[in-house]
Amino acid sequence: MTSVAHAQPHAHGGGDAHHAPMSFWRKYIFSTDHKIIGIQFLFVSLFFLLVGGILAMQIRWQLGFPAKPMPGGGLLPETMVSDGHILPEYYVQLVSMHGTFMVFFAIMPLLVGVYANFLIPLKIGAHDMAFPRINMWSFWAALLAGLIMTASFFVPNGPIRSGWTNYVPLAARPDLSGVTVGQMLWCISIVVLGLSSVMGSLNYITTIINHRAPGMTWFRMPLSVWALFITAILGVLALPVLQGAAIMLLFDNVLGTHFFDPAAGGQALLWQHLFWFFGHPEVYILILPAMGMVSDIIANGSRKPIFGYHSMVFAIIGIAFLGWIVWGHHMFMSGMNPTLGSTFMVSTLLIAVPSAVKVFNWMGTMWRGNLRFHVPMMNAIGFVSMFTIGGLSGIYMAATPVDIPLHDTQFIVAHIHYVLFGGSLFALFAAMTYWYPKMFGKMMSERLGKVHFWLTFVFYNMTFFPMHIIGMGGQMRRIYDPTIYNFLKPQQPLNEFISYSAFALFAVQFLFAFNFLWSLKFGKKAPQNPWDDNGLEWSLPNPAPHGNWEKVPNVYRGPYEFSAPEAGDKDYLPQYTKLPTDRDPVPAPVPAGH
């Protein structure tokens, strides 16, 4: 039988050969161009990042100054704030929604929605995603999910009150949580977001497997693409589990099912197992793309090939694999069988190994380099140093006995923020600055970028480092007023200090916002290859046209050939540059049948 795959044009995919001028709506709103979709994701998730930040500021006000009325509190309805004082139920909602927005609608879409969409086709040499229309739906589903989640602030009784983790029976029982519609909206929003994520991920996986440029072998792919590929696999396998769990929770709330109702034989710990079976791979969804992009940027900034490319790839795969068998470390104190706890401790501690390999390899990359301190590089170095702290503080909680006093205290809050802010967000600042010219054809201001980096770095550490100490002192997570506990009273000055630092940290982010928006119009016009990089994306004009290349370039080497001897007097050698010694890639074989 002959292959049918290539007899006719694709039903969808591959990008159009003709780029006719399109209306504004087709071009910017219902776009199927992966770059536009990435930019749509960027603006939407930056908005949700701001929302999450505003919620965080209110949390910090309450923790720092529990007895004082919040400035601007009068603007909020009586159900949330009374006489300017945040109410306990509103505080719990703040905590829950801050986590929900930041994890599901800010960091995850920023890393995956924006950069998987934007970078994968550009970096592997594809005209577009394999399924551009599914890609468009993925964005619209994510936006819909975000709007549903936002709507829960405006329904009677407001949004969820059971933390972003929604532990049951609290989340399953409106009579105990006091939340009715908000809980349903959370579940529905998560199911829709899961659909969006699966649609996105299957696109990324298919595109990377099938649409690489000639010569772009697996081990010539940039680490950012590797990381996004593995992340997509995690997404495809993890999100449906959360969807299943969210549907059960929804039915418990709406249809009166008893999945999580212990009185009828349901199990409270079942939710935790399902949630964290999704949730731990999710943690790596939130950090692997950051690691990948930082690898690209550090190699560029060091003007050196990445140190140990293959072990970096295997470390990504190792982290992703181990990520599936560590979920129980969120449940050491849950009453789960202690023997299982021992197993989960070992697998969790082992994850430190590939993480350490990555950190040392980044340092190895910088070693004997010729460092260029552009803004992305500074943020990337910030990422390495902060992710190290976040990774190391994880060891305390992985070691089960030490986890006993630290579990569910501010220590874990410090840990997760060192990984998600110090890690993911610094990587995102780096990535946003680095690929800004590719997106908009302009450069962001270097000076503002540096000021923003240093202020963020300082205030960030002032905010989150003391949380370790507060947590050691025993301050539980998600408590509305620490001062009612005698053992927490002495720590209150530190809580105030954290709050002041957090306000400053928040304020400093407007520098970035200003730089981002101002440069759209007034930024310096970007040269074609502003960072002297090797990636395929820089063979295109800035911004790249719809459909990317007329003809995709051939790839002759790996992505990190900085300072290669054959590059001559330049210190970089792009993947698409053909040297006289290079041979054209062998065409991919035609598959026999399919």
Binding site: P169, G266, S302, S342, P401, P405
Partner: protein, 223 residues
Amino acid sequence: MRWWLPDAGSTFAGPIDGLFTAILIITGIALVLVEVGLVTFVIRYRGRPGRKAFYTHGSTRAEVIWTAIPAVTMVALGLISNHYWVLIKDKKSVPPNAYRLGVHAKQFEWQVTYPGPDEKLGTSDDFTVRNQLHVIVNQPTAVELTSEDVIHSFFVPEWRLKQDAVPGMQITAWFEATKTGEFELGCAELCGMGHYRMRARVFVHTPDEYKAWVAQQAAGGTE
């Protein structure tokens, strides 16, 4: 202002704090190594015109070393941790002579059931006190944790003890307090809007004091 774990108040504090310190040293070394390394590289290898980076793709030897060292450290740490973990949390580790109390958590209070003068739970002289936990110093004590409604978590920082109370499950947590005085019991798992005020007073008595208190309670007295 406290910069360390709360003062030790149970036999668990010794090994847990020791392990904490050990991890602090290990991670401290790693942290200093990385951060000092980064700063050194940033200064030493800062870009200068006319200089070219050293072209290398890595070193298998270096990578094997920095894979093996963390791996060995983590496995060792895991083995040591597991020893104490089993001692603290395993069901078989509850001392047979432990004094048994019932702790029932509900939104937003702790109901502590005492065995009464006959020192046996489940008999008619048991009595229940809200938001007060009285225990005997240097006496292994086991609490039978249950929950009425949602998940709560039994947390006494000085004892280095934390255990969730899960509706539909009965979980035994044991400890041996080593310091008399008054402490606090808090809820460490978000259990609703009143989570923050789910607080109980904890009293660690000498055996005689405790007996006197039980007698007083059995006689129907308060406080």
